[in-house]
Amino acid sequence: MQLPRLTLGFCVLVAMVAGAAPAYSAEPVILPRSILILPPTNRSVEVNAPYIFLSTITRPLAEKGYYVFPVAVIDRFMRENGLQISAEMHAIPLAKLREHIHPDAVLYVDILDWGQKYQILTSKAVVSANLKLVDAHTGNVIWENRAYASESPNNSGNNGLAGMLIQAVADQVIGSLSDKTYELSRVANNQAVDRLPDGPIRLEVQTAKR
């Protein structure tokens, strides 16, 4: 069976797998108005992963209707206060964060996997992170989800082995690793955040019809 040819000559098949179902706490939660995103911890070998993630998380959360503290300013704020490692930043007591930053909620992100996987016939890019939104006052987990996206080039279905090999080499030569994960990170974060309920700012706008 041959894959149908799409009018798009070049088609990237983006496989998105929603991770664990979003976990809402049993009690009704008051939605946070502002979210502080701490620089993510990183289990991958890609040193830029936390920052690529950070650059693509503000937009979906803000468009949902939450105020997102400026990510690079927060990173600087932490460093100016002597914290260089994200694990240290994640260990700051909530009371301390409330005192200096005043967030309603804190998003803790743990990067699980990030980057290009080189396989024999093709290369595959993947981004994967755990997101945990915590109430800054109670410490309760408001919401938890996995952001995940992977991408491998589609060979239009009719290439022979030689074609596939050339394709694989071309992917590895042309494909800039960080650029691919930047786009994938955007896809993964949009998808992950899509499951959050609308935040106060979006609800206000809908009521006020500004």
Binding site: Y51, R59, P70, A72, V73, E80, I101, H102, R186
Partner: protein, 132 residues
């Protein structure tokens, strides 16, 4: 066979729509190059010095105003950070204050940034006075 074709096409179309984040509802903000600025600032710092950030962010603020859209959260704050890195304290404070004006949620944190920047300038000027 035909059913299979339509099914595959539908799945691919759905994946494409999801990938492009087809938000049918109105967006809240104008984003412009904000994400690109943050991304390059970290991953290719050489290509995104403070001057370039100021240039790009100022242009996006102008664009948002022209389009009568709301400047996205973080844009003025990043502008303030870039001005601070260039040593332009008044411009940095003005940008931080604008972010706090648009988003009062950020005011306590940004007031803290401004205060520390002032204290540092004071300390530095005292230091240089001492050296003289």
């Amino acid at each position: 066979m035909k059913t299979y074709r339509y099914l595959t096409a539908a799945i691919l179309a759905a994946a494409f729509l999801m990938a492009t984040g087809c938000a049918s509802r109105p967006k809240l903000y104008y984003w412009g190059a904000y994400e690109d600025v943050i991304n390059s600032y970290y991953t290719k710092p050489g290509s995104m010095p403070a001057e370039r950030q100021i240039e790009l962010l100022s242009r996006e603020i102008e664009q948002a105003n022209n389009k009568k859209e709301h400047v996205a959260p973080g844009v003025y704050a990043q502008l303030g950070l870039a001005y601070a890195d260039m040593g332009n304290v008044p411009a940095s404070e003005a940008a931080f204050n604008r972010e706090a004006e648009l988003f009062p949620e950020a005011k306590p944190m940004l007031d803290g940034m401004i205060k520390r920047a002032r204290d540092n300038t004071l300390k530095n000027s005292k230091k240089s006075q001492g050296a003289l």
